[in-house]
């Protein structure tokens, strides 16, 4: 990995961390413009880092990727830093939409739809919870005072620098045309169908799910049942005997 890339990663982490720190909901306001500026700088550097990874002929997909990824990252920052839980829930919905778009870019149409459906339901439930429980008296005290934001952001920034360094040094300049190592026996009984077999995509996914991974499917069903029973047992009011 080149020294310029390393410096870029550190710059992204430092400006992003400072921006998030200044955007944090605190009692003393007035740091928002500086935080927005720093976070925007970090986003611009991030787009530069993405563009350095694009190969030849990636332009249209790269543009869509940059838009969706920028939406996802900005919405993620907003989810963490908004004061009102209702805004947090709405920005998290934007995160879900952005990730679904990124799924769609990667031949995962079914997952894109499933993520939106599952999480949209979850977000609506969350929304109702917030409205029922937390909104009686506006933005409350504990939403305005984050706990130890400096320590959390420093440790998270170190984690981010490490992760990005490993990712970039491993995959820098690699195009998307990586194929499995020749001669390696494939574990899967069902072949992967990419976008050239449009219309067969979900069928292939379902075949793989029910042929290669039937045991994990059974376990997932059992986990859902146990979770449902557990949730009812936890939330039910105790009747006095």
């Amino acid at each position: 990995m080149s020294g310029a890339m390393q410096a870029l990663i550190v710059a992204i982490a430092i400006s992003g961390g400072l921006g998030v720190f200044l955007l944090m909901p605190r009692a003393a306001t007035g740091t928002r413009p500086a935080g927005l500026a720093l976070a925007g700088l970090s986003l611009a550097l991030l787009v530069v880092a993405w563009c350095a990874n694009f190969g030849e002929g990636d332009l249209p997909a790269g543009l869509v990727f940059c838009l969706l990824a920028a939406l996802t990252v900005v919405a993620g920052v907003m989810t963490v830093t908004r004061r009102s839980p209702v805004s947090c829930a709405l920005w998290f919905a934007s995160v879900v939409i952005g990730t679904s778009g990124l799924f769609m870019l990667q031949n995962a149409q079914f997952l894109a739809a499933a993520t939106i459906i599952v999480y949209a339901g979850a977000i609506i439930v969350m929304f109702l919870f917030v409205v029922m429980l937390a909104q009686q008296s506006g933005v409350s005290f504990y939403d305005r005072t984050p706990r130890e934001p400096a320590l959390a952001i420093i440790s998270a920034g170190i984690l981010l620098v490490l992760l990005l360094s490993v990712i970039v040094s491993t995959h820098h300049g690699e195009s998307a045309s990586v194929r499995p190592i020749a001669g390696e026996p494939s574990v899967s009984k069902t072949a992967f169908m990419s976008s050239d077999a449009a219309g067969q995509h979900v069928a292939g996914l379902g075949r793989s799910l029910f042929a290669d991974h039937w045991l994990s499917l059974e376990i997932a069903g059992a986990v859902l049942l146990v979770a449902m029973v557990g949730a009812i047992a936890i939330a039910a009011r105790k009747e006095r005997a």
Binding site: E148, L160, L163, L224
Partner: protein, 143 residues
């Protein structure tokens, strides 16, 4: 292109971690945890696409299932905890900390920094208020 998806996944994971560590509202903490799951899902789908097999997507479906189960149980717990203390503040539950950890004093907010309640628009009173009889006043206080 693979590196870019991994970068976005790492950023989502780290942002979720920051949110989980700093926010005190239990619902926002839960949303942050979900955001970390989104970052991991993005990684898995990217690997699935690059290696041209279904395993990453199957893993992601599994993550969706576990996230649904987790959401059900977490929301049940949040409702229960809210009924106990009447607040979503997670600091109210610091009695559950390790015995050698010091207590967190969160109530040190300076009073001057508390924002005033929003100023609602007021209507200028028009006309003259009619004289109330004693019976009317008596009745109004008892409604």
């Amino acid at each position: 292109m693979l590196a870019n998806y991994l970068i976005v996944g790492a950023i989502l994971f780290v942002l979720g971690a920051v949110g989980f560590l700093t926010r005190r509202n239990m619902i926002v903490m839960f949303l942050s945890a979900e955001m970390m799951l989104q970052g991991v899902s993005l990684n898995l789908v990217a690997f699935s696409n690059v290696w041209s097999n279904w395993h990453g997507q199957i893993f992601t479906i599994y993550i969706l299932t576990i996230a649904a189960a987790e959401a059900a149980i977490a929301l049940a717990l949040v409702v229960k905890l809210y009924h106990r203390r009447g607040s979503l503040d997670v600091s109210l539950w610091q009695d559950l900390r390790e015995p050698d950890q010091p207590a967190i004093d969160d109530d040190a907010e300076p009073a001057a920094s508390v924002p005033a309640p929003p100023a609602w628009p007021t209507l200028t009173p028009a006309g003259v208020e009619p004289r109330h009889t004693d019976e009317e006043i008596e009745e109004a206080t008892h409604v």
